[in-house]
């Protein structure tokens, strides 16, 4: 079976300094892979390269047959297939601060996938309920706790139903109870057939929840 995500000898340099050196990994459908390592080792950089938010210098990234090559990031018009395949949950959540939780989730459904408002709201409400933030649908991002904001951000990334979900330091702002709950959520997502690549420096969380742990060293 071919991998959902294949990263082959990925290298990223800033000002001729390697921030990520020859990373190779694969993520299969239904698999949770943790990318471990200390701060500054290039975990986030790897995720950003997969999401085509930043260029890379060497190597190759393939997401379900869609390949990214070294060099400048292609224009958005050529990235449409990638955008349908990859969801990204940012460390600081990056919720749209002018929209309530529900509208954060419906925005892409309506304006990218062309769903009607009622269709989109139905999908979004279900997602929020499944992530245990159904009651916070009308809240503004500034009114949400760290854990709630993270789950809304997960819902937003999952709304277009991408097979691959990338998460950057998901446990950074969570208390122990929330970390456990997050682990259960991730398992649920993988059981739905998604592949998850999680950048974290939380060893305990990675060991406890990932199918595979890949450790980057400086």
């Amino acid at each position: 079976m071919s991998a959902l995500l294949a990263i082959d000898r990925l290298t990223v340099r800033y000002d001729s300094r390697d921030v990520l050196r020859v990373l190779s990994l694969e993520v299969a459908r239904g698999e949770i892979v943790a990318l471990m390592g200390p701060s500054g080792v290039g975990k986030s950089t790897a995720l950003r390269a997969v999401a085509a938010l930043q260029p890379f210098d060497e190597g190759r990234i393939v997401v379900e047959g869609f390949a990214l090559a070294p060099g400048p990031v292609p224009p958005e018009s050529r990235l449409v297939p990638l955008r349908r395949r990859v969801g990204l949950v940012f460390q600081a959540h990056a919720l749209f601060s002018h929209l309530c939780a529900l509208d954060n989730v419906t925005l892409a459904l309506r304006h990218v996938l062309g769903q009607s408002r009622s269709e989109a709201e139905e999908v979004a409400a279900k997602l929020l309920v499944s992530l245990d933030v159904g009651t916070r649908a009308a809240a503004w991002p500034s009114q949400l706790s760290g854990g709630e904001a993270q789950r809304v951000a997960i819902a937003r990334a999952l709304a277009p139903n991408p097979p691959l979900l990338l998460m950057d330091e998901p446990t950074a702002a969570l208390d122990p109870a929330r970390r456990r709950a997050l682990g259960a959520t991730l398992r649920q997502l993988s059981e739905q057939g998604r592949g998850l690549l999680i950048a974290t420096h939380d060893t305990e969380f990675a060991r406890g929840n990932a199918d595979r742990v890949i450790t980057l060293t400086a």
Binding site: L53, V86, L88, A94, F96, S97, H98, A157
Partner: protein
């Protein structure tokens, strides 16, 4: 200009030293300190081309004749003052006698001590040669634009003719540009003193317009003194009578080419009548009320100019900001140059360039030129506000939008724009209130808005107290609700915290 500046310094020095009283100003050093406007130019008062630190003109010589006649080898000493401020300055004691084509009006007589008339002028119409057959009087100017100098008898004539004949009065700050705009086709006629019309025609080599023979009205030039200064006024009157009798006044007028038989008839009438009566204050309540409709109209002009300019500023500002944030390198450079040039030069200069400077290429109507100049000026400031606001939207939110598959345009419309608008709202409101006040500058290109109308009103009633207060109230009535509206919008759009 050099002359004006020199006199300005002298005037300031005199201001500081004349609080001893006006009589001391004339006694000290044997000087008669008189005020006039050298910007008005020949043949009244102008900087001497041979020595710009001196002035010349028939009013200069009249002042010298008066100084001489007052005895004691007095010298006339000139103080530069803006023409429309002569009355206020003479009451302040900046000088004791104002002379510079000062018109004899009932309002002036009621508020100041005024000398006997020493020159008779005719209010004459100037029209383009093609209109010469059809325009003989104000009645022939229905629906046409007629220019004059603000705060003059001619302006009052046009205002009353507006109601009776439906002409459109256009007020200028100077008496040169009306004739230029007449030739250029921006106005259809000019109504001003015959001396000014003849001078303008001479400067144009007798071409471009003709002066209608039949005068619209007749008026007189007088000297103006402070209300309490009737004793000196009576002495000045005595000197003027003497100068009319001994022919010295006639000689002055002949030297400057303004003598005609009507002056002789005026002298006869003056010499037959007794001393001029003490100035009597008349009630001015009616006069003040008469200006209310004009003020309301001017306030509407201010509001309209401001709203249209702001709309233009927002549209152009958005385009400039988008170019600066999203554009290619050369586009960013071009917009940066535009923003810096506009912000680094005075709005007044931009108004002049657009209205007068471009007249050879495109002859913009004054109102349009005002909206363009204000709008393009404020666009530079708006652009900086929008650029700052766009850049204030957190980058991770833009990246999150990209990963969700939005196009750049969708990100701008759905994520970046709405948040930037909220950041921009408060500074935009401040700018609009500033624009409302800056719109007063457009009066220099003949658009009579609130401040200009107030200045005309104040000049004619001889006081700034009531007109100034009324004007302030109207500006506040326009700006305060705007600020309130913006605060309400900000509150509504801001997520509760």
């Amino acid at each position: 200009m050099i002359a004006a500046r020199t006199f300005g310094v002298t005037g300031l020095a005199l201001c500081l030293s004349t609080n001893l009283g006006t009589q001391s100003a004339i006694r000290r050093g044997g000087e008669l300190v008189w005020g006039g406007d050298a910007e008005g130019g020949a043949p009244f008062v102008e900087a001497d081309p041979a020595n710009p630190s001196r002035v010349r003109g028939f009013d200069v010589e009249v002042a010298e004749r008066i100084a001489h006649g007052l005895g004691g080898d007095r010298m006339a000493r000139f103080v530069q003052v803006q023409w429309s401020d002569i009355d206020l300055s003479v009451e302040r004691g900046d000088f004791v006698l104002g002379l510079s084509g000062v018109e004899d009006t009932p309002a002036r007589r009621s508020r100041h001590a005024v000398t006997l008339p020493y020159f008779e002028f005719r209010e004459v119409l100037a029209v383009r040669p093609g209109d010469a057959g059809g325009i003989r009087s104000l009645a022939d100017l229905r629906g046409r634009r007629v220019a004059t100098l603000g705060a003059t008898i001619a302006y009052e004539l046009l205002i009353s003719a507006r109601d009776s004949t439906g002409l459109i009065p256009i007020s200028y700050d100077d008496d040169v540009h009306p004739y230029g705009d007449l030739v250029a086709g921006r106005v259809d006629a000019v109504l001003l003193d015959h001396i000014i019309a003849q001078r303008a025609l001479r400067r144009r080599g007798g071409l471009g317009f003709i002066i209608v023979d039949q005068p619209v009205a007749v008026g007189h030039y007088v000297g103006v003194l402070a209300y309490a200064n009737t004793a000196l006024r009576d002495s000045v009157d005595a000197v003027l009578r003497e100068a009319m009798r001994d022919g010295s006044l006639e000689q002055i007028f002949r030297r400057w080419g303004v003598w005609d038989p009507t002056q002789g008839m005026l002298f006869d009438r003056v010499l037959r009548s007794g001393p001029s009566g003490a100035a009597a204050r008349v009630a001015t309540t009616g006069q003040a009320l008469a200006y209310i409709p004009s003020l309301a109209r001017a306030a509407a002009v201010t509001l309209l100019v401001s709203v249209l300019s702001m709309a233009l500023a927002v549209i152009v500002g958005l385009a400039l900001a988008s170019a600066r944030v999203y554009g290619a390198g050369w586009l960013r450079v071009a917009t940066t140059v535009y923003v810096e040039v506009i912000r680094g030069t005075p709005l007044l200069l931009q108004l002049f360039v657009i209205y007068y400077g471009l007249a050879g290429v495109v002859r913009l109507p004054a109102f349009l030129a005002a909206v363009l100049a204000l709008g393009l000026n404020y666009a530079a400031y708006e652009a900086e506000i929008y650029r700052g606001a766009l850049e204030a939207v957190p980058r991770p939110q833009l990246e999150a939008a990209r990963t969700l598959g939005f196009s750049e345009l969708q990100i701008l419309r759905l994520v970046r724009g709405p948040q930037a608008l909220r950041f921009a709202l408060a500074p935009m409101t401040n700018d609009f209130v500033a624009l409302l006040k800056d719109s007063a500058l457009v009066s220099v290109i003949t658009v009579v808005e609130l401040t200009k109308q107030t200045a005309i009103y104040a000049t004619n009633v001889g006081s700034w107290v009531v007109p100034g207060a009324l004007c302030a109230v109207v500006y506040l009535a326009m700006s305060l609700p705007l600020a309130r509206l913006a605060r309400r919008l900000e509150r509504r759009w801001r997520p509760a915290t």
